[in-house]
Amino acid sequence: MESQSSGAAFTRRGFIGLAGAVSATALLAACTTGGGSSGGGSAGVIKFWNQPWGGTTFNPLDKQITLAYKPPKGLGKATYQEIQWANFTQTYSSAVASNTGPAVSSGGGTQAFLFESQGKIAYADHLLDSWKKNGLYDDFLPGLIDTLKTKNGYAAVPYNLDMRVMWYNKSLLSKYGVAVPTDWDTYVAACKTLKSHGIYGYGTYAGAGGFTGGHNLVSHMINNGGGLFDSNNQPNCVTPENIEAMDWVLGLVKNGYVDPRSATYTAANAQAQYKALKFGMGWDTGGLASNVGGSVGNDLVVASPLTGPSGKKGALFFPNNIMMYTHTPSQKGSEAFLTYYYKNMAPLWTKNTGIGLPPLKSIAATKEFQSVPNNVKIINEWQPISKTWGAPGSNTVFLNVTTVDGTPAMDTFTQGILGGKVTAKAALTTLQNTLKANAKP
């Protein structure tokens, strides 16, 4: 009995010890980052993560360009990973925090500044210096590179431009004898005529995932010489220029020139209204015509920038960018890959993948790009007068921009204005207080 018991006990202990060891090994394996010291991948491989910036053809072509990279001797190849927009902040944050993230990536327009504040971004100064020698630097549209400059260096490199511009339906305006507006007063007059035919003159949207409505409001502020941040990159919303701009929009709302559902329209809802010929004019991204498509898409034309009451022109734009991370197998490798990528990325535009406007003059000059008049107009007329979120204090992007770009504070402000039940000053004061509470010193 005793021997039996001993034997059994020994077997159990042995089994338990083995099970414990296996569990511990499995747990340790699960807890490791898997990348050792080379988070960008083994053998110096450069991990490139990119978003779906265009239609279905964008990422396959982008992958093809990436994988065709032949690195200089001693540097690693590049791998490609498509990152969906859904929850992309979480995807990048968790990857960067666990050192399993990319060496090079695109992402949200303010992402580089968020990670820069956390010491995770490799500045692009050295890369840009090298581009000054090979001509790439001078190929960028004027002033574009400096929009991404921080006090410590360049946080990222411009990749594609996301513009907020004014659109109109040429057939509708022609049908009802409406002249294309050139300033705020003629815009109101055009809206009045369109309303008499049951058409809204100010098409916009600020519903689930629709941040464009808020972008448009800031665009009007910039048009009037205003904006949200001062020269110290601190929020400064309650200014006469901003109040005047928001009063102008509130006037449009109260006169019934804005669809009362706009505050909760998604991008798809707004496009449906253009298709249904209920929106005769509106404010949207540079890709509106292709998103609406069909015969109505062909009728949609980009207007010239309006002149504001102060005699100024201006709009909001987003220099979407590509950033490099400190966690890379080789900074030299990251820079070599980006140099290759920028020299070879033109097909993303010339093959009409749907990506935003190009940052390089050489791409904008191609016959394929020039064959789309709306895009040409945006590059020629809107890009030079457009400013970043930093306006009027600066024309750069910085950490405090993360307090407005796609945030609840901006959503609430936008939906309040489009709902028409607030005053401009009260809405701007609420926005100012929230931004101030959330701002980084």
């Binding site: 159990r12 338990i16 993360t402 609840p408």
Partner: protein, 320 residues
């Protein structure tokens, strides 16, 4: 000596079985030493316990630490004590979100229960193609919420949507189902009831299936009306399943992120921002991890309290 009826009933209320075992029984004499067999069993269970602790407890502890620090998505930040909880609890947005969460949960739980129970009772009757209906009625629960939300957006969002067209035909033009703060709340709650009633229907149908038909026949013989039978017989018999389904649906509603976020994004002007949406937006749009996690912890605390209260109700039902 045999126990009297009163004694037996008293023992039953305390949960003491015939054998003397049960929660209300006198505590047995405790053994001073844990047996070798118990140690062995514990050792066998230890790897699994460790895994469970790591999988479940580690994230909770980590989140707890985050809630008392001022970190971001990457860095832990400095210790700030309960400042995040204090700032959250003093925020008007938190309380308005809590209010909407309450409305959303109450309407979601009882609305879906009422519809689910009604349909479960209806499906007990012999109707042609009953099984087909059962499958069709399950669709709202089966279909991914992304698809449902897109469909509901199509149904109500624009003037060309079917439901606004119907309302216009009925003489009610310009009903802003999503753009009016109050109507947006109503629309989201109805959407939640629509998504959730199949679950309640299944729970109630299985509870009703366990009811002995003789009970109904006895009630009929006693002259009870249909309503009296429902109130006096059906509801008490299925009460245990009802409480369980209420607990589950309360948890589903309080934690429901996609239903709200996909349909309204929490708008207009935060009118449909529930606590879970607020927590998400605080962490991932404002990048304020501490306050966001504090909101999540406060939600969890309230959920645990509600669950405990309802579980006690279930135990009471069991004893009775």
């Amino acid at each position: 000596m045999t126990a009297s009826t009163a004694e037996r009933l008293n023992r039953a209320r305390r949960g003491v079985g015939v054998s003397g075992h049960g929660p209300g029984a006198p505590a047995p004499r405790r053994k001073s030493v844990i047996s070798a067999r118990a140690w062995t069993l514990l050792a066998f269970a230890l790897p699994s316990l460790l895994l469970l602790l790591l999988i479940n407890l580690y994230p909770v502890i980590y989140a707890g630490i985050q809630s008392i620090r001022n970190g971001d998505l990457i860095n832990a930040g400095d210790f700030v004590g309960f400042a995040n909880y204090a700032s959250v609890l003093s925020s008007p947005q938190f309380w308005s979100s809590a209010q909407f969460t309450l409305i959303f949960t109450i309407s979601g739980v009882f609305g879906s229960w009422a519809v689910g129970l009604a349909l479960a009772l209806l499906l007990r009757t012999r109707i042609p193609a009953g099984n087909v209906f059962k499958v069709l009625l399950l669709l709202p629960w089966i279909v991914p919420v992304v698809v449902s939300a897109t469909s509901w957006n199509f149904l109500v969002a624009t003037p060309q949507s079917p439901i606004p067209i119907l309302f216009t035909a009925l003489g009610m033009p310009n009903v802003l189902f999503l753009a009016s703060p109050v109507l947006a709340q109503v629309t989201v709650c109805i959407f939640k009831i629509w998504i959730s009633f199949p679950f309640m229907m299944m729970m109630m149908a299985s509870a009703l299936a366990s009811v002995d038909v003789n009970v109904y026949e006895a009630a009929k013989m006693d002259g009870a009306s249909t309503w009296q039978t429902f109130r006096g017989v059906t509801l008490p018999i299925i009460s245990r399943s009802t409480y369980i389904s209420w607990i589950l649906m309360t948890i589903f509603c309080v934690n429901d992120f996609p239903t709200i976020f996909l349909l309204t994004g929490g708008g207009p002007v935060n009118s449909t921002t529930s606590l879970v949406v607020l927590a998400y937006r605080t962490v991932f749009q404002n990048f304020q991890v501490g306050p966001g996690v504090a909101i999540a912890f406060l939600m969890t605390f309230v959920l645990v309290v509600i669950s405990v209260v309802l579980y006690r109700q279930i135990r009471k039902v069991n004893v009775e």
